[in-house]
Symmetry: D2
Subunit: 126 residues, 4 copies
């Protein structure tokens, strides 16, 4: 699969008193970005949960290169980096309006059946 | 019932670029405060949800008198103002370290059975 | 001024374990909505802060009529209800995809010069 | 320096509809934990910012081993792993009430002079 783009505008409540978007918020927007990617291929995340499968984050790593500031439009480029067994690794780059990379990240989710909790293979999703 | 006190220290992620605690966060701390009050009388909120009853907020109003700043200890005074049918109204005052009232609020929750959703009377909680 | 519309899609991080958007988040989206209204008339909020004027919330009240759920598109209708001295009152209605009103709110902000903090009249903004 | 412990109780607004604490929130509590460690050695973070020095996060990585649920007390163990030039790396472990490690993380902050932005050596903090 190729990369997928979403645009996000930094809201006032995203900022902290440093005047930057709080670092924890990147992970929220990366989450939204990956489910937009899923929606684009016909699998809205809420449909997955209806089948009692959840995709919790099991690993996250990010490099904060430049700050994001209030009202800035951030372009998030999402890519599925790997996909094996019950795990999907997403790779992210966030760019500011000048086209500079401000953040790079990788987030891995696991496919887990809600109750009782146990990993499932991804074929169950289709 | 008398008033119940909780102390909360404003965290960095609570602030916005104004340098104040973002106004939406008061509602989060008032939520924690009311369930601490419930815990103090022997009804932890997570026990209520185990019985498939949820207490969503149906009304909230707040007056923001003075700002709260990072690292400040805020004293929250919670009181059950009224309690009728399936509704509980909580009344809050938040004070800064100088003892000044910085926020006053009222939050009303409804007792709702989770599935199918319909109001229940409060006796069901005991 | 007429009403102004913004559309917001409920993100996963907006939800809580009740399965609804956490009530505090409405105030975040109402904030974004009012500054989008300001942008639409040529006054982006970040320009206001560059002039050392901030518009903190001094009053907020909301009625939570129906829950908002993950991935739902919420239409927010914002209106300036009153505008006197250093205060602006915004009136909000939020509608779900079925066109039902799920939330009604009023939020008042004050115009304050950042340092030293004192109210300014609104003419200073232009 | 030895390790430093803080206890945090998962609040309702920390949860998402999976029924777990949202993964982004760990980074908020790790932030609070590192500044509590700083406070314990006599350097409250708000004093650092008064000197126009900020410590933004430049790197964060976390492994989410077990979920944290509402009302659970989480013990966070913070350690300064390295400290060179203008960078401090913190190492975290979060444990649930059963003493199981539920999260492991590393967060690196940089010491930056606020305006104009440029790295400073850590001696400036004392």
């Amino acid at each position: 699969m190729n990369s997928f783009q979403t645009i996000y505008r930094v809201s006032y409540s995203d900022t902290d008193q440093m005047g930057y978007m709080h670092h924890s918020n990147y992970f929220k927007y990366y989450e939204t970005a990956r489910w937009e990617l899923f929606r684009s291929i016909g699998i809205p995340y809420h449909e997955i949960e209806k089948d009692d499968i959840i995709l919790p984050v099991i690993n996250a790593t990010a490099k904060f290169i430049k700050p994001a500031v209030y009202d800035q439009e951030i372009r998030i480029i999402t890519r599925v980096k790997s996909f094996k067994g019950a795990r999907i690794m997403f790779e992210y780059r966030a760019l500011n309006e000048a086209g500079e990379i401000i953040n790079e990240a990788q987030v891995t989710v696991a496919c887990v059946r809600k109750a009782p909790a146990k990993p499932v293979s991804l074929q169950k999703l289709s």
